[in-house]
Structure formats: structure tokens, C-alpha cells
């Protein structure tokens, strides 16, 4: 496998989930049942695993059951029995995953890294015109962080999103940061923005209370305005007072003003564990070695969802990438070491036509460790597809005793293994008579 989004996670998930299917075959049980029996139960949360990582929250069994129910395994078993002859087989496969997101100091120390991330910081400040600026050292390369971080600030300060500017990634303009990686930005930078905004809100409330001739406890921020016992004030007016009419400020005003830098580190920083289950229904063409995904289900839980559109985009995109890992993407070399896939004309990526209709379902279990219960979501989608798809293919090929365990699953690999398995049991490829009618149109 190539260096990749969710690097290492996909490989580990692949090894574990194919092993679980091997166990299920050995003991003659449904693979999903074996999984369900071995999952950490919801009652055990938070659960400290043998390596000291804390699974902070979630209901792993519920996630798997949702995926199993969606694909309707008993119906698939009945269809399989009906397909027992002919050139095609179908199979169903599942894979669970956890995604350690936003893992921090303790996790990196335990892994022996040379550099250790600590508190992630963000600066928020009101501008004289009442706009809000967010400055963070993490970087958005297309995942919509500008929107998500602005939403976090809005949650605390009720500033309209159109009045929030987000500056990312340039430490000449932002606090230092170890950057964007490990699905950490929304929990870490989001946490820092939330805390900075809370502090800013407190300072602004004190100024507003003075201007409204009330005590801070009597003033509430609702819909972007401070309301006191008598009268109210816009956030903008408080910001303008700081910048333009400092003579109206209270004597004990915080000299830090309307600009705050705060940091965030989770209470237990071995990560917040997003998790979920993928299920695939595939059809294997025994003649040409083609694998088609007939149905695909994703159940995911990344804690409190900040922006559903962005989280779903990550889930769909990650799943598409995982399908590429499972069936298409490969870096090949000739015997002299020349790379054979050095352009996108040679390196095979899945396209829209290769995508199944993906059913995406959410569970929303807040993390007890973060602001608002947020967990990361960046890599989840790409982790389990190879495992789920190969488990489904192996389920389809059960009668041949074929177990595919190499990525990507190419027609060549598939046909080679099926031929070997048939040869081993002295069953040469069936000499069917004339090709069956109506199959030609289905050739890709």
C-alpha cells in the first residue's frame, strides 16, 4: 500500500478485519457475529485498551448492527444460494474501524516521537468594525476548516459567519502549531478557538456590563447582542469602545483587550476515538475477475458533528479513496525499477462510475474529552473499505476456498487464485457450453 491518508490505519484495519473473517470461517459463524461478540461494549466506555489508549465514548455494537441491518444479511444468504451456479457470485463483508483523532502529547510520547505536540493555540480578536478574526496555525487544504472553525466561534459568540475571517497556517500571522495531521484540527484548533472565544466573551461581557450600568452577572449575550436589565448593546459597539472610545471602558478592564490567545489540549490526550462500520455487497465475475460493488453502507460516529456537509464529504471522499485502495490503485515497477505508474494516465484512480450508491448513517456520541464533544473525522472513510470489500469478495468465493489478501484486488490476482484453488481440488474451469445469453451487455 502507498503512503496515504489514514496511513497505517488502513493496513492495520485490513489485517485485523481479515483475521476476524478467517476466525469466523474456522468456527463456522457469521463474521458479523464474531465481531459483535468481541467489540468493546458501550457500558465499558471510557475503555482503556492494553496499550493505554482511552476509547473515550461510543457504541461500537450499535454501529455494526446498523450496517448489518442495512445490507440485510439473511436476504443476501438466500440470494447466494440461488446463484450457486453460473459465472457470478455475490458476497457480503464488514469491517469496523477506530480512528484515533487529535491524539496529543501522551500518545506521541508513548510512540517515541522526536517532536511532541502540546497545547494547540488559536488567537481570536474583534476588529474595530465588529468583525471577528480567527488565527490558527493548522492549515486547511480543502477540508473546509475555515467554515468549521468559524462555526465553533459562532457557537460561543453568536457572530454571523459572514463577519468572521479565518487566517490559517502562516505562523507569521498565527500562533505556532505542529500543523494539520492525525485528524486533529477540529478538536485541537477548534478547542482552542472555543476557549479563546469563551475568554473573549467574558472580557466583552465585563465591558458591556459597565456600559449598560449593570453587573457582569446581569448581562447575557443573545443573538450577538449583550442584554442588560435596562437596554442592550451590539458586540460591535463593545469592540468599538475598546478601540475608539477607551475613555468609556471600566477602570479594571482587562488590558489584553478584545484579542485573546488560548490553548487546548484534551483532558486525556491519547486521542478521541471516532469509529464506525463499513459493509459491502459485491458481485464477483468469475469469468473476467471483475468485482462490482452492488451496495455499500457506512456508519460513522465522530462525536458532535460541527458541519454535517463537511463530515459527510469526508466520509464519502474517504470511502471513494478506500475503494481505490481496494480495487484500483497500485504503484508498479518494471524489473529495472522504473515506475510504471508515474502519471494519472497510468495510476488507476476510481472515478464517479466506479462509485456505488453509498448509504451513510451517523451516530453522534459526544466525546467527554473535548469542547462540545467533537472528535476528528478526516481519515475515517479511507480506513475500512479495503477490508470490507475483500471480506465480501472472500465471502463470495467461499465455495472455492479462495482467500484474497493482497491489494489492490486486480482481475489478474483474482483469476490466478481461483484457478489455483480449482486446480488444487482437481476441478478445472467449467467447460460451459455456449456463453449464456444477455451477459455481453454487462461487460464494463
Amino acid at each position: 500500500m502507498l503512503p496515504y491518508r489514514g496511513v497505517a490505519r488502513t493496513n492495520i484495519c485490513f489485517a485485523m478485519e481479515l483475521t476476524l473473517d478467517a476466525i469466523a470461517r474456522k468456527v463456522g459463524r457469521e463474521p458479523w457475529e464474531v465481531r459483535l461478540q468481541n467489540l468493546v461494549p458501550a457500558e465499558a466506555m471510557p475503555f482503556t485498551n492494553p496499550t493505554g489508549r482511552v476509547y473515550d465514548s461510543g457504541d461500537y455494537g450499535k454501529s455494526l448492527r446498523m450496517a448489518v441491518e442495512h445490507l440485510d444479511v439473511p436476504a443476501i444468504r438466500a440470494r447466494q444460494a440461488a446463484l450457486a451456479a453460473g459465472g457470478k457470485r455475490i458476497g457480503v463483508g464488514f469491517a469496523n474501524y477506530i480512528e484515533m483523532t487529535g491524539h496529543g502529547t501522551a500518545a506521541f510520547v508513548a510512540s517515541g516521537y522526536a517532536f511532541i505536540p502540546g497545547y494547540e493555540q488559536a488567537t481570536v480578536r474583534f476588529t474595530p468594525d465588529g468583525g471577528l478574526e480567527i488565527r490558527a496555525g493548522v492549515h486547511s487544504h480543502g477540508q473546509g476548516m475555515e467554515t468549521s472553525l468559524a462555526q465553533v466561534a459562532h457557537e460561543v459568540l453568536h457572530v454571523p459567519l459572514s463577519r468572521i475571517a479565518v487566517v490559517l497556517g502562516d505562523t507569521a500571522l498565527t500562533p505556532y502549531s505542529t500543523g494539520t495531521y492525525a485528524s486533529r484540527s477540529i478538536t485541537m484548533a477548534g478547542g482552542a478557538v472555543a476557549r479563546a472565544c469563551a475568554k473573549l466573551k467574558d472580557r466583552m461581557t465585563r465591558i458591556a456590563a459597565h456600559l449598560l450600568q449593570a453587573s457582569p452577572g446581569e448581562v447575557t449575550l443573545v443573538g450577538g447582542r449583550f442584554h442588560g436589565p435596562v437596554g442592550d448593546l451590539a458586540l460591535r459597539e463593545v469592540a468599538q469602545t475598546w478601540y475608539r472610545q477607551p475613555h468609556r471602558l471600566p477602570n479594571d478592564v482587562d488590558p489584553g483587550g478584545v484579542e485573546v490567545t488560548e490553548g487546548f489540549k484534551a483532558k486525556a490526550d491519547t486521542g478521541q476515538f471516532a469509529y464506525g462500520s463499513h459493509g459491502a455487497l459485491v458481485e464477483v465475475d468469475l469469468d473476467i475477475g471483475e468485482v462490482r460493488i452492488l451496495d455499500y453502507v457506512v456508519v460513522e460516529d465522530c462525536g458532535r458533528i460541527v458541519n454535517p456537509l463537511i463530515v459527510e464529504g469526508q466520509a464519502y471522499g474517504g470511502t471513494a479513496q478506500g475503494i481505490g485502495t481496494a480495487l484500483f490503485e497500485e504503484m508498479t515497477f518494471d524489473p529495472n525499477g522504473q515506475p510504471l505508474a508515474s502519471t494519472l494516465a497510468d495510476y488507476m484512480l476510481p472515478g464517479a462510475s466506479e462509485m456505488p450508491q453509498i448509504t451513510l448513517m451517523h451516530i453522534e456520541t459526544p466525546s467527554p474529552l473535548t469542547e462540545f464533544g467533537i472528535k476528528g473525522a478526516g481519515e475515517s472513510g479511507a480506513i475500512p473499505p479495503p477490508a470490507a470489500i475483500l471480506n465480501a469478495v472472500n465471502d463470495a468465493l467461499r465455495e472455492f476456498g479462495v482467500v484474497m489478501n493482497e491489494l489492490p484486488l486486480t482481475p489478474r490476482r483474482l483469476l490466478t487464485r481461483i484457478a489455483q484453488a480449482r486446480e488444487a481440488v482437481g476441478d478445472p474451469p467449467a467447460p460451459d457450453a455456449a456463453p449464456a445469453a444477455g451477459r455481453a451487455r454487462e461487460v464494463a
Binding site: 473476467i288 475477475g289 483469476l415 455481453a440
Partner: protein, 272 residues
């Protein structure tokens, strides 16, 4: 991914295009849709000194109904054929079905039938389909015009019998009468990808033409003298043997894929 510098020539007619190719003295390249030459220029696999654009030459854009066959201007796009430019009695001819599955629509909008033949990619759809249909091309060069059967056009990968200053002007495609049965199948790893195997069959009461494509050279004929769809042994083992004879270099998995691809083309012809 930018091409080396070249001179771009936009001739007014076929004679002008030939003159430009002659002047380029072997270092000229003809471009029409640019869907193959474009990437090759960008990767600098092709470094012509002169590129002659024939995509707008009226003669190359014309489609004529000549009774027994179509004369298709070589700069006719795949999309135009897909959309029924060669319709018979309001129904698109079977070239439309071939065109519809060439790469993606964006490529079909620009790629041309003559360009595909001249480029001579072994996996190209037109190379296989037109060879199997018994089509021929009209080629013009400094010495005048000549006809070349599509079956004789391609020498090997990316190489044809065309001289550097010759140009495919049109393609003559025989019309399929009522008695003709046609099948065309390809196996692609993904939609729009070059096929890893392709096969085509054209059969009428007098005999049949069967070719395999995507073999790393010109299409390979499979049919025996006087064989018809009805006398052909269509069992998988028999077809596997025929594939093995036509393409002895294929190993087990590839031979299996080609065999079933061929079976599907034949099956289509049987049910046409």
C-alpha cells in the same frame, strides 16, 4: 507537463495540410482532436517541429452516404457518431454503440475517427471495430490518393503504413445489411479506461471476421476460411484454444479474460 515548442499550422484544405507536412520534412504531426497527441506532447513522448491541425478541414468533416457504405470524414468526432451521424432510417448504426463506449464523453467530443486510426493504439476501439467491419481508409499524400484496408493500416503499436506526409482523409465503412450480425465487447478495469481485452465479430452468410484487440499490436484475426457464426464452435474451451492460437503470448489469466470477452462479443452477435 508542457510540450516543447512547435510551429502550429492551420491549413485551409487538404492540399495545404499535405504541403505543410512535406515542408516539415518528417518532423510534422497531424492533430485533429488532440486526445492522444495532446498528452504525448505534454509528456514529450512526441516532439514534432510542426503540428498541422486538420480538425476544421471541410472535406475531413463531411459524411457521405454512398449506398453500400458510408464515407466518413476522418475528423468526424466519436461524439458525432455516438449521436447518430450515421443513422440508417432514423436508427443509429452499430458504430454508434462502439463510439458510445470510447473513453469519456469529454474525450469523445474532441477525439476523431481518423485520428484514432492514425494513432494506432492497440487498445483503441476504432482500430478493432473498423478492422472487423472491413472498413478502409482513403489516404492522401504528395503522390495522390490511395486506399488502405483498415486490416492493413496498423503495423504495430503506434505505427501505421502512413508516410509522415500522408493524411487519412476519410473512412469507408460498409453498411451492415439485414444479414449481418455484429458483436463488440471489451473488458475495462473501469469505465472509460483503455480495455485490457477487446473482441469483435462481424458475420454474414458468406463468412465471418473475428478479431481480438488490445494485444500490443494490430488486431489479431481469429476466423477461419468459410467459417460462419453458425459453424463456429462457441464453447469456452474451443474459444480459449482459438485465443491461444491468435495470441500465444497471453498467460493464463489474460487468456481467460480474452476468451470470455470473445465469448461475449459472439454472444452479442448471436442475439443481434
Amino acid at each position: 507537463m508542457t510540450p516543447a515548442a512547435y510551429d502550429y499550422v492551420l491549413p485551409a484544405d487538404v492540399a495545404g495540410a499535405i504541403a505543410a507536412l512535406v515542408a516539415a520534412d518528417g518532423e510534422g504531426k497531424v492533430v485533429a482532436g488532440g486526445q492522444s497527441l495532446g498528452p504525448m506532447l505534454n509528456l514529450r513522448l512526441a516532439r514534432p517541429r510542426v503540428v498541422v491541425d486538420v480538425s476544421r478541414l471541410p472535406e475531413l468533416r463531411a459524411i457521405e452516404d454512398r449506398g453500400t457504405h458510408w464515407r466518413v470524414g476522418s475528423a468526424t468526432t466519436h461524439a458525432e457518431i455516438e449521436d447518430g451521424a450515421l443513422a440508417v432510417a432514423g436508427r443509429p448504426c452499430h458504430l454508434a454503440a462502439v463510439a458510445r463506449r470510447i473513453a469519456y464523453r469529454a474525450i469523445r467530443n474532441r477525439g476523431t475517427i481518423g485520428g484514432s486510426l492514425a494513432h494506432a493504439d492497440p487498445a483503441a476501439d476504432w482500430v478493432l471495430a473498423l478492422t472487423t467491419m472491413g472498413a478502409s481508409v482513403t489516404v492522401e499524400g504528395p503522390a495522390g490518393r490511395r486506399r488502405v484496408a483498415c486490416a492493413d493500416l496498423m503495423v504495430t503499436t503506434f505505427t501505421t503504413v502512413l508516410a509522415p506526409e500522408e493524411l487519412i482523409v476519410s473512412v469507408d465503412v460498409p453498411k451492415a445489411g439485414e444479414a449481418v450480425r455484429w458483436g463488440y465487447a471489451k473488458v475495462c478495469r473501469k469505465v472509460g479506461e483503455f480495455p485490457s481485452a477487446s473482441a469483435a465479430i462481424r458475420s454474414d452468410p458468406d463468412g465471418c471476421r473475428i478479431y481480438l484487440g488490445a494485444l500490443g499490436g494490430p488486431p489479431q484475426p481469429l476466423a477461419r476460411e468459410g467459417e460462419t457464426l453458425d459453424t463456429l464452435d462457441r464453447s469456452i474451451p474451443a474459444l480459449a484454444e482459438r485465443v491461444g492460437e491468435a495470441a500465444p503470448d497471453l498467460d493464463g489469466p489474460d487468456r481467460q479474460i480474452f476468451t470470455h470477452c470473445l465469448a461475449r462479443a459472439i454472444d452479442q452477435a448471436c442475439h443481434a
